[in-house]
C-alpha cells in the first residue's frame, strides 16, 4: 500500500498541468496571432516618432518669447506623441480581454485555466512585456528623432544632463501602465466599446471636466490624472508647478494599475463567464 502510494505520487506530480508560465505562454501566442496587435504597435510608433518630429521641427528659438525660452524643455516636448500613444496601447490592453468576451473564447480560456486571476495575471505579464518594450524603444526613438530635427540655437537635450535619461525611461514606461489599467478595466467592463470609452474618459474627458472648476481644483486634482502625470511629472526635466515629482507620479500610476488589475481579477472570479 505504502509503496504503491509512493510510486504513484511522483507520476501524478510529474504530469504536466497548467501553471502561470504555461498560461502566460498561451496569452503570448494569443496576442501575437491577431493582426490588431501589429497594427496597434505600428500606429503607436508612427504617433510617437511623428509627433516628436512635428513638434520639435517647428520650434523657432529666434521668435520665442523669453518666458517660453525659460520653460522650454526639449525632452518633454519630444513626448507629445504620448497623447496618442497612451490611447493606442490602452486599446491594446482592452482588446486583450474584451475580444475574448465578445467571441466566447473566454469560456475556452477559463475551461483550460480555471483559476481566473491567474489568467488575468498572465495577460497582464504579456501585455506589460510587449507594451514596455514597444514603449521604451519608441521613447528613445522619439527622443532621438526630436533632438535631430530641433534646430540650433535652440538648446538640445542630452543624456549627460540630469533628469533626461530618467524622463525618457519614464516616457516609455507610461503607456505600458496605461495598457495595464485598460486591461483591468476591460476585465471589469467586458464590452469592447464600453471599456475603450472608459479609457478615453479617464485619459481625455476627466481633464476637460476639471477645466471649468477653477484653478484650485485643477491644481489639487489635476496632478493625479494620468495624462498630466505623464506630461508634467514623468517626462518633465524642468519641474512644473502643482505637479507630482517624477517618482511620485510613477508610483501613483503603478497604484492605479494595481487597483484596476485587482478589481479585474476579482470581477472575473466572481461573475459567471
Amino acid at each position: 500500500m505504502t509503496t504503491a502510494t509512493l510510486t504513484r505520487v511522483p507520476a501524478e506530480t510529474a504530469r504536466p498541468g497548467y501553471s502561470f508560465r504555461s498560461t502566460a505562454r498561451m496569452e503570448w501566442l494569443k496576442l501575437r496571432s491577431v493582426r490588431s496587435t501589429s497594427w496597434i504597435v505600428l500606429v503607436f510608433a508612427a504617433g510617437m516618432i511623428g509627433l516628436s518630429v512635428l513638434v520639435l521641427s517647428h520650434e523657432h528659438w529666434a521668435t520665442m518669447a523669453a518666458a517660453d525660452r525659460a520653460t522650454f524643455d526639449p525632452t518633454n516636448e519630444g513626448f507629445t506623441g504620448l497623447a496618442l500613444g497612451q490611447l493606442v496601447l490602452g486599446v491594446l490592453g482592452v482588446l486583450a480581454i474584451t475580444t475574448e468576451f465578445s467571441s466566447g473564447m473566454i469560456r475556452a480560456t477559463f475551461a483550460a485555466v480555471p483559476r481566473r486571476p491567474m489568467v488575468l495575471a498572465a495577460k497582464a505579464a504579456v501585455v506589460a512585456a510587449v507594451t514596455l518594450v514597444a514603449g521604451e524603444v519608441l521613447a528613445f526613438g522619439a527622443f532621438a528623432a526630436g533632438e535631430l530635427v530641433l534646430r540650433s540655437p535652440a538648446p538640445h537635450a542630452t543624456f549627460a544632463q540630469p533628469g533626461v535619461l530618467r524622463a525618457v525611461l519614464m516616457g516609455g514606461a507610461y503607456p505600458c501602465l496605461i495598457a495595464l489599467i485598460a486591461l483591468g478595466l476591460g476585465a471589469v467592463i467586458r464590452n469592447t466599446a464600453a471599456a475603450i470609452s472608459a479609457v478615453v474618459g479617464m485619459l481625455f474627458v476627466v481633464p476637460l471636466i476639471l477645466l471649468p472648476l477653477g484653478t484650485s481644483v485643477q491644481h489639487s486634482v489635476g496632478q493625479f490624472l494620468p495624462m498630466l502625470i505623464a506630461e508634467n511629472s514623468m517626462t518633465a526635466v524642468k519641474p512644473v508647478a502643482h505637479s507630482l515629482s517624477p517618482g511620485a507620479g510613477l508610483a501613483v500610476l503603478c497604484g492605479y494599475a494595481a487597483v484596476a488589475l485587482v478589481a479585474g481579477g476579482w470581477a472575473l472570479a466572481r461573475r459567471d463567464a
Binding site: E27, L29, S33, R35, G104, M105, R107, A108, A112, D272
Partner: protein, 246 residues
C-alpha cells in the same frame, strides 16, 4: 464519470436549473436531452466551472472542475461554435489553447487531422462555415485526449457527411472507455449515437433512462413528447395559433 448533485441555478427570479442530479457513465454516449431553454447549456457551463451553481455540486472523476490540474487532459468541451477570435487562424487558436496545459504542439496537427481541418488550418477562423467552426471546436475539445467529453449541440450546422462523421467519432470515443455527454433538443438525432439518456425540462430531471427503455413503450418521439409535455416554453399556445391560421 460525471456526478451532478442537487444543481440549482437562478437568473434573477427565473430558475434555469432546479435541483438537478444525474450520473454520466464512462464507456457509453449519453444524450442530454430537453426542449430549448430546458437548462442544458447552463448545466454544461456549471460542469466546467464557468457558471457558479447557486446550490449543488458537479464532480468529474471525483473532483470539482476547479481542482483539476490539467483540465484539458481530463475534460474536453464544445460549448458553442465560433468561440474563437475571428482573426486568428485555426492552428494558432489550437496552439495557444494547447500551450496553456503544456500539451505538446504536435498534438495540434493530430487534432486538425482527426477533424479534417489540415487544409484550413492556416485560414482565419472567422471565415469558417458553421460546420468548420464546429469541427474546430471539436478539435479543441480533443486537444488533451481527455477521458471526459462534453459537447453542446455538436451537430448544429454540420452537413449530412459531417453528422455521420461525428456520430462515428462519438461512438469510437465512448468505445475507448471515455465518458461522452452530448446535448441536443432532437431525440431522433441523439438516438442515433447515444445509449443512455438524461432528459430535462424547465431545469428539472424528467428521466434518466436508455434509448432502448424509452422506445419500448411507444415511438421515441412520442415518448419524448410525453416526457417533456408541460415543460416546453411555448407548446400549447403555439399549436393553437397554428390551428387558427389554417
Amino acid at each position: 464519470m460525471i456526478e451532478a448533485r442537487g444543481l440549482v441555478k437562478c437568473y434573477g427570479s427565473t430558475i434555469a436549473v432546479d435541483n438537478l442530479s444525474f450520473d454520466v457513465m464512462p464507456g457509453t454516449v449519453t444524450g442530454f436531452l430537453g426542449p430549448n431553454g430546458a437548462g442544458k447549456s447552463t448545466t454544461m457551463r456549471m460542469m466546467l466551472g464557468l457558471d457558479r451553481p447557486d446550490a449543488g455540486t458537479v464532480r468529474i472523476g471525483g473532483k470539482s472542475y476547479h481542482d483539476l490540474r490539467s483540465p484539458l487532459r481530463e475534460v474536453g468541451a464544445l460549448l458553442e461554435a465560433k468561440a474563437f477570435h475571428p482573426g486568428r487562424t485555426a492552428r494558432a487558436h489550437l496552439t495557444a489553447l494547447a500551450a496553456s496545459n503544456a500539451i505538446p504542439e504536435r498534438r495540434v496537427g493530430e487534432v486538425l487531422e482527426i477533424t479534417g481541418l489540415e487544409k484550413a488550418a492556416g485560414r482565419r477562423a472567422g471565415k469558417f462555415s458553421l460546420g468548420m467552426s464546429q469541427r474546430l471546436g471539436i478539435a479543441a475539445a480533443l486537444l488533451g485526449d481527455p477521458a471526459v467529453l462534453l459537447l453542446d449541440e455538436p451537430v448544429n450546422g454540420l452537413d449530412p457527411e459531417g453528422i455521420r462523421w461525428i456520430r462515428n467519432l462519438l461512438k469510437n470515443l465512448a468505445a475507448q472507455g471515455r465518458t461522452v455527454l452530448v446535448s441536443s433538443h432532437l431525440i431522433s438525432e441523439v438516438a442515433q449515437t447515444a445509449d443512455r439518456l438524461i432528459v430535462i425540462g424547465q431545469g428539472r430531471l424528467l428521466a434518466q433512462t436508455t434509448v432502448t427503455e424509452l422506445s419500448a413503450r411507444s415511438s421515441l418521439e412520442e415518448a419524448f413528447f410525453a416526457l417533456t409535455e408541460g415543460s416546453t416554453e411555448y407548446s400549447a399556445s403555439n399549436l393553437a395559433y397554428q390551428g387558427s391560421l389554417s
